[in-house]
Amino acid sequence: MLTAFFEEIPAFFTYYNGLFLLQAAMRTIGLSAIGCVVGFLLGFFWAIVRLLSGKATLPARLASILYVEFFRRVPFLVTLMIVFFACQVLKLGFSVFTVATISVCLIAASYTAEIVRAGFESVPLKQWEAAEVMNFTLAQKLRLIIIPQAWKVILPPAFSFFIAFIKDTALASQIGVIELTYVGKVLNNKGYSASLVFGTILILYFIISYPLARFGARMEKRLALSKH
């Protein structure tokens, strides 16, 4: 059994299989990176919208709550399908990769919005009040006082979300995005043994997420050390 496994290796790691896997890995990385970066920025935006006050901004605040609650409750796969069919109905002619990218951004934004909101709320009310009576604008309060203090509460859950999120992008294979999981299935169907194919896929996922995990751990450590 084990000898069969090792004998298969040279046949598996051919130039074309390698290229196939590399391209798939790039798609997984692309989906994850765009999802995390755009999602985080959008999430920040939604979290800030919720801090607005006054009657005029009520619709915006409601939109923020609705958005976050909707995409956090709907399964990833369903969101993917909704975006997929919405794009078809609207005849937008997007590639499946674009559809998947839009979906991951929508989902990542809803989760990070909650993470950022929790970070904002971790800063004591008295800090907000002191800034308020000194006539700081909302933008100044956030930039100068709140965000510098909220970072250490935001970063740890944000990074664990990003790492989990890399794995979730596998669902994009369901609409035909040729990313790692999809390629795993294709190679397996071509006759390569599942243990070899998915073992390789597993290692590739690890290689993608490990540096991010290390980076997150380093950032947290730095924040913990510098108390200010």
Partner: protein, 245 residues
């Protein structure tokens, strides 16, 4: 014309009334102290003045003009003239003492950074913290933090300084250093509205004392009168309790 005038002011937390018809005035350069048991509405009154709590009725006038607390611009203008020091100091935790003092004049009032910084150093020296310019709040004692908070309020160049139980959170031996700073301002003629439980201090600096209980103004008069010869039973009871030790 009184500088700050409060007329028939009401406020409530939800349905619970916390201020029920407060009315008195503060002249320029005058120091008025608010005393009374916990929960009598003293701190709430200061919070209403700076717009952290909304009044339900009544008027607050500054220099003869009523403040419209429902109007954002009017509120900003009012906040520009008040400065408040809180019981828990509320210094910005992510900034040094110097930056805590200098940030609002630079960022909010748009003043020259170098000039403000010089002034901030002078203010911190004035409250005895010339050697703590670059210390962060969590590296300072409560008394030191409170003195930074006073310097921060002064840097805003307020017309009226509001002090909300500024020594209540401090260890007894730290109270004096803070009160000394406040006394210094009193001698310089700063207009102040002070909430305090330090009766000796209240007697020494105040022109007028307001005794409050359950959101109402029970007595008002010069400190000698209110502290030594209170007319109402409620005030007598409070003085007896607080002056016993």
């Amino acid at each position: 014309m009184p500088y700050l005038s409060i007329e028939n002011l009401h406020a409530s937390y939800g349905k619970t009334p916390v201020l029920a018809g407060i009315g008195f005035s503060v002249e320029k350069g005058e120091i008025v102290s608010l005393i009374g048991p916990s929960g009598s509405g003293k701190s709430t009154l200061l919070r209403v003045l700076v717009g952290l709590n909304k009044p339900t009725s009544g008027t607050v006038s500054l220099g003869g003009r009523a403040i419209d607390y429902t109007n954002r611009r009017a509120l900003r203008e009012a906040r520009d003239r008040f400065a408040i020091v809180f019981q828990q100091y509320n210094l910005f935790q992510n900034m040094t003492a110097l930056r805590n003092v200098a940030i609002a004049p630079v960022k909010v009032k748009g003043r020259n950074a170098a000039e403000v910084e010089k002034e901030a150093v002078t203010l911190l020296e004035k409250v005895g913290l010339g050697d703590k310019l670059n210390a962060y709040p969590d590296e300072l004692s409560g008394g030191q933090q409170q003195r930074v908070a006073i310097a921060r309020a002064l840097a805003l160049r307020p017309d009226i300084l509001l002090l909300d139980e500024v020594t209540s959170a401090l260890d007894p031996e730290l109270v004096k250093e803070v009160l000394d700073s406040v006394s210094l301002l009193a001698r310089e003629g700063m207009t102040m509205l002070i909430v305090s439980h330090e009766m000796a201090f209240v007697r020494q600096v105040s022109k007028k004392v307001v005794f409050m209980d359950e959101g109402r103004m029970v007595e008002i008069g010069p400190p000698g009168e209110i502290l030594d010869r209170p007319k109402t039973g409620r005030a007598r009871e409070f003085m007896a309790k607080i002056l016993r030790h």
